[in-house]
Amino acid sequence: VVGKQMTEMLKGTLEGIVLAILSVRPAYGYEITAWLREQGFADIAEGTVYALLVRIEQRGLVDVEKVPSEKGPPRKVYSLNAQGRDYLEQFWKTWSFLAERLQRLHEEGK
């Protein structure tokens, strides 16, 4: 149940989380997944992150550069562009609003 709840909540926020990671520095898919796992988001599948990267690429929030790799196909390195930065700023505003309201609800219920 706890895992399911986490998955559902992450669905709405993963986009912002990934954009926030990319705002620090450009990264490729696997790096992002690895970072998320390190931070305790253990259940995240690489494919989920990949689908999300494809989506933000389609929406023009990131620039993609193909970097040749020693083995296999070139790696796609994603970096946040101006449109992505605007979007991320909006995400943080929405997040602060939500976090504040939820905190208030939590305290009232105590």
Binding site: A45, L52, G72
Partner: protein, 244 residues
């Protein structure tokens, strides 16, 4: 002009080539990736229902990138798709904003909520868009249409000949000659039906297409036999429309 008509039947040949190139990349993946990606691709095709060629190519190429990387690094399939492959496939499909078969139904539902009846005849419900999004050759719908028409026409010929025989028609032709007649009639009907497909494909609407078709079928049947038993009008009313 001819190339345009050919592409109406086959879809853009260039896009088709590019799509096949991308799909070939997942076909050479080692196991277990080969099996998994083929199953996922099948699901994506049905679920995504993408009708726009550029999106389909981009999807296939991104999909191949992901799995070539996984196969190179030896990443376990479960690490990629997570607990539920369906969830992964649907998230992946949702990442693309391209045209989908269901779009038509979505806009129909939205306009129905506004109290507006959806415009156009029920034949416009997008069955051809649905066909286009399915893993079948684009020309197969046309072939089905042409062959149905052929069978219907042959049935009417058989009926006419049987009635003629009952009424006293006799012929000195032997079996071989009858076969030759049947062969010529089949080829003639096939050729005319395919010719009738061309204006049908060029028509802007289903109604325009069926008007052309009706005319061509009725002139076909009157050229061959002016029988009161013409099955044609009834057939035309039920036949699939050659709309785009």
């Amino acid at each position: 002009m001819a190339a345009k008509w050919i592409e109406l039947v086959t879809g853009s040949l260039e896009q088709k080539k590019q799509y096949k190139q991308q799909r070939a990349r997942i076909e050479v993946l080692p196991e277990p990736y080969g099996t998994v990606t083929k199953a996922l691709q099948r699901y994506l095709m049905y679920y995504g229902g993408v009708t726009d060629g550029d999106t389909a190519i981009k999807m296939m190429s991104d999909f191949a990138d992901l799995w070539e990387r996984a196969a190179t690094d030896g990443t376990p399939v479960r690490v990629i798709v997570g607990d539920d492959p369906v969830e992964f496939a649907e998230a992946f499909a949702h990442a693309y904003p391209g045209a989908q078969w269901i779009d038509k139904e979505r806009s129909r539902l939205r306009s129905a909520r506004g109290g507006r009846a959806s415009r156009g005849s029920p034949q416009k419900s997008g069955v051809f868009e649905r066909f286009q999004s399915m893993p079948i050759a684009r020309s197969s719908v046309l072939w089905a249409h042409v062959l149905t028409s052929l069978v219907a026409n042959l049935t009417s010929v058989v009926v006419v000949v049987l009635v003629a025989l009952l009424m006293g028609f006799r012929s000195g032709a032997d079996l071989l000659e009858w076969l030759a007649v049947a062969g010529i009639l089949i080829l003639f009907t096939l050729a005319l039906t395919w010719l009738a497909v061309i204006p049908g494909l060029s028509a802007k609407s289903a109604d325009g297409a069926s008007a052309l078709r009706t005319r061509s079928s009725s002139c076909r049947s009157s050229a061959r036999h002016s029988s009161p038993l013409t099955l044609c009008p009834a057939r035309c009313a039920h036949s699939p429309r050659t709309s785009r």
